[in-house]
């Protein structure tokens, strides 16, 4: 009896293992789409190779039908596009895809948004060779993917489409440029402006802020609000991004241009940080937690402070959560070296391993292109990446805030591959100062060492 069972068991196992083996064959088959008849045995493999077969039409000689954005796109291509974003942002990009389909009907775009942990998922997907064809790129992904050859340089495609680097607001390309090549194009950007509540300003008996204010004016006003009203003067957290406009306008920078030297103990940063620390000490600068808010924008909405530095996201936030609160914005105050702001931006890049490089590049260029940028700007969702299109912004507060992008000293807080660590060192230094653990000199001395280590290890 027992000996008779053995062949049956072997047969069952053979079937199980055989089925597994078959699955593997199918997956390798769609990796190499054009291999021989071995793939024809499984349905899955033939289904996936179907798309590949259709692309054999010569790309170069295609007529007007194959041309998209001036690029000879592969006819019948299907490209996968992934980005983060909430429902609003997803709708903006669904609309962009609709416009793209009208302009380039031969290409199908499969939009696969990844709202949470986008960067982590993309790193894993690219490491597994399964990355989408077109993706959002930020500084983190530029480090992980751009520097390791996973993204396609777009310069040739830009030349074909007649897009130049010069048409963009200059600092927007900082993150995406590596050895003079462009690995992604900015999809939109944001910056900071001085947000204030007119009723608080009035109650404090001071003049309303203007674009001509200096940081000293801001301090005087914050002192007056703190003294004459029962709300906080100026709200700012221990955050590198909020210190950046102060530091840049004092001629400072977190690191040198070539991202090799930390500059956190240089005069510009120290002067700016001292000003902030003094304001915190005297109570004219408060943090969101001090006044019982989650962040400074919410503190404005709840009328707990008179002023803060926030960006374009305030417009939608206030409309949705505090529609009855009257608020205004002007561009950030000026420092001794002039006006300066910090730019946040993300781009759209193309997977170097894409099956349809032309179609994918055409899509990236279309979405970041002039016409689509104008359409997105009209929705009020984001700022356009070309300076001459800034006039398309309709909201007054957005207009005031976006001015920050045009100042000479304005820049992106990007310092190479370990930018996050450098910026984090600044935030932590401010945190120690606000907690009263260290004075400005000691806190930024420590930050300087941490940032220098991060820059050294980035090489």
């Amino acid at each position: 009896m027992k000996t008779r069972q053995l062949p049956i068991v072997v047969a069952i196992l053979a079937m199980v293992l055989g089925a597994c083996g078959g699955g593997e064959a199918a997956t390798t088959a769609d990796g190499t789409a054009t291999t021989d008849g071995a793939t024809a045995t499984t349905d899955g493999a033939t289904a996936t190779t179907g798309g590949g077969v259709a692309t054999t039409a010569p790309a170069g000689g295609g007529g007007a039908a194959g041309s998209c954005m001036g690029i000879a796109a592969e006819e019948g291509a299907t490209i996968v596009f992934s980005g983060w974003g909430d429902e609003t942002e997803q709708q903006v990009y669904r609309d962009s895809i609709t416009r793209f389909n009208e302009a380039c009907p031969g290409i199908t775009v499969d939009y696969q948004p990844v709202p949470a942990d986008f960067q982590t998922q993309m790193k894993a997907a690219f490491a597994g060779g399964e990355g989408p064809d077109v993706i959002y790129v930020d500084d983190q992904l530029m480090t992980a993917l751009g520097r390791t050859g996973q993204l396609l340089p777009l310069d040739d495609f830009m030349a074909q489409a007649g897009v130049t680097r010069e048409e963009f607001i200059p600092s927007l390309l900082t993150i995406f440029t590596l050895e003079d090549q462009t690995y992604a194009l900015p999809k939109d950007w944001g910056t900071l402006g001085l947000i204030y509540l007119p009723e608080v300003i009035e109650a404090a008996g001071i003049e309303a802020p203007t674009g001509d204010w200096t940081w000293a004016d801001l301090r005087t006003a914050a002192q007056a609000i703190a003294a004459n009203t029962d709300v906080g003067g100026f709200c700012q957290g221990a955050d590198w991004a909020r210190l950046a406009p102060w530091a840049f306008s004092h001629g400072g920078s977190f690191a040198s241009e070539d991202a090799t030297q930390a500059m956190l103990t240089d005069a510009g940063v120290i002067q700016a940080a001292t000003l902030v620390a003094d304001m915190h000490e005297e109570g004219s600068l408060v943090t969101a937690a001090d006044v019982g808010a989650g962040w400074c924008g919410e503190a404005i909405g709840k009328k707990l402070v008179g002023m803060t530095l926030e960006g374009g996201w305030m417009v939608n936030f206030m409309n949705n959560d505090y529609p009855d609160v009257d608020w205004s914005a002007v561009s950030v105050p000026a420092g001794p070296e002039g006006k300066a702001d910090v730019i946040f931006t993300n781009g759209i890049g193309v997977n170097a391993a894409t099956e349809f490089p032309n179609a994918a590049a055409a899509f990236a260029l279309f979405v970041t292109g002039r016409d689509n940028q104008a359409a997105i700007t009209e929705t009020g969702f984001a700022y356009p990446t070309r300076e001459d299109q800034l006039s398309l912004i309709t909201n007054e507060n957005d207009l005031a805030i976006s001015e920050g992008g045009t100042f000479d000293l304005t820049r992106v807080a990007f310092w190479g591959s370990n930018s996050g660590r450098v910026n984090d060192a600044v935030s932590k230094a401010l945190e120690r100062i606000f907690l009263g653990e260290q004075d400005v000199a000691a806190a930024f001395q420590q930050a300087q060492e941490e940032a220098q280590l991060a820059l050294d290890e980035a090489a």
Partner: protein, 342 residues
């Protein structure tokens, strides 16, 4: 003689061999999965820990550099800092959660009204996803949240004033607060002596809340295995309830206690999700844990964006594994001594 004895012996041998073959055949699917996805991956990680690797370019051999870098980093955001943090965590969480689990189990083992209801309710936190629990505590721990409110109300009953604490953003250390009360202070570069921060203690409380019920179930099962005759005999001998607990219950629970302490220690050393959701290692790195550091280095997310250092992350993971092994080994020796094996 020999020829008649040989056939049965050979048959038996052959049957044993066949049975072994069948056993391995049945085991093979699982063994295959284990070899590929556990043994294979651990071996690969061990190899990676001796290399410099960023996921996309082939690994380059660097020898012991990663281990040296991990163990020499005495900075405030380094691996040693995370080990010190997790050490505070383990020595606080493990005793508390074990004691609370035992207490709950004993309470639920006594015949109370609606016993099943209480068992279900007490077990609730353990079956709920840790992400959900952490998100709920995110609200409870707000400066304007319920926990501060309860403290405030309680304090005002006694005419005292409660200063609201920002539970998830308070880097003050326990020993530092004690020192402050006596007019002293421990400066920031002496973080080693500051003890666990307020935020870290808050996370410990959260974790005790979620894991104690899991271990409660194990204790409950073990309690029901203690033969009632032992208690009967003891009470005839005139032993008090307390004596029965110390001389019968605790010794009988010893194997389970070992299991709970070892599992609790391993789990505590690997604390990650609450840190990721609630604090990201902050404030001022006081909740930075080894696993969170491994995660951030492996994915290039240190400080919000850094170079991917898979090798360094793997080296840290192996150092942590060795530490956990040593702790588990010591605990086994200590708790098992004097335990009869059943």
């Amino acid at each position: 003689m020999a020829s008649t004895a040989a056939p049965p012996a050979r048959r038996v041998k052959k049957r044993v061999r066949n049975e072994t073959a069948v056993a391995y055949l049945f085991l093979s699917p699982y063994l295959l999965v284990t070899v590929v996805f556990t043994v294979g991956i651990v071996a690969f990680a061990l190899y990676i820990s001796f290399t410099s690797y960023n996921l996309f370019e082939s690994p380059t051999w660097v020898g012991l550099d990663n281990y040296r870098k991990a163990l020499a980093d005495t900075g405030p955001s380094g691996f040693l800092r995370s080990l010190v943090n997790v050490f505070w965590y383990v020595i606080t969480v493990v005793p508390f959660q074990t004691a609370i689990a035992l207490m709950l189990a004993i309470v639920l083992n006594t015949p109370v009204r609606a016993q099943q209801f209480f068992r279900t309710v007490f077990y609730g936190p353990s079956v709920t996803s840790s992400v959900v629990i952490a998100s709920i505590f995110l609200w409870l721990y707000l400066k304007t949240g319920v926990i501060n409110y309860v403290f405030d109300q309680t304090f005002s009953l006694f005419g005292a004033q409660w200063t609201a604490i920002e539970w998830l953003n308070d880097p003050r250390g326990l020993f530092q607060i004690i020192a402050n009360a006596f007019g002293g202070d421990i400066p920031s570069d002496q973080w080693l002596f500051r003890g666990p921060s307020v935020t870290w203690l808050a996370l410990m409380a959260l974790n005790i809340f979620t894991t104690a019920p899991t271990f409660m179930i194990m204790y409950l099962a073990a309690l029901q295995d203690v033969p009632p005759t032992l208690y009967e005999a003891a009470s005839i001998d005139g032993a008090s309830k307390r004596q029965q607990f110390r001389s019968i219950t605790l010794p009988m629970l010893r194997p389970v206690t070992l299991l709970i302490v070892v599992l609790g220690t391993i789990g505590s050393f690997q604390v990650f999700d609450q840190v990721k959701i609630l604090t990201s290692g902050g404030p001022l790195n006081t909740t930075l844990t080894p696993v969170y550091l491994v995660y951030s280095e492996a994915l290039g997310e240190v400080g919000g964006g850094s170079v991917i250092r898979m090798g360094l992350a793997s080296a840290m993971a192996f150092v942590l594994a060795v530490i956990i092994f040593i702790f588990a080994f010591i605990q086994r020796r200590y708790i098992e001594s004097g335990t009869e094996q059943y």
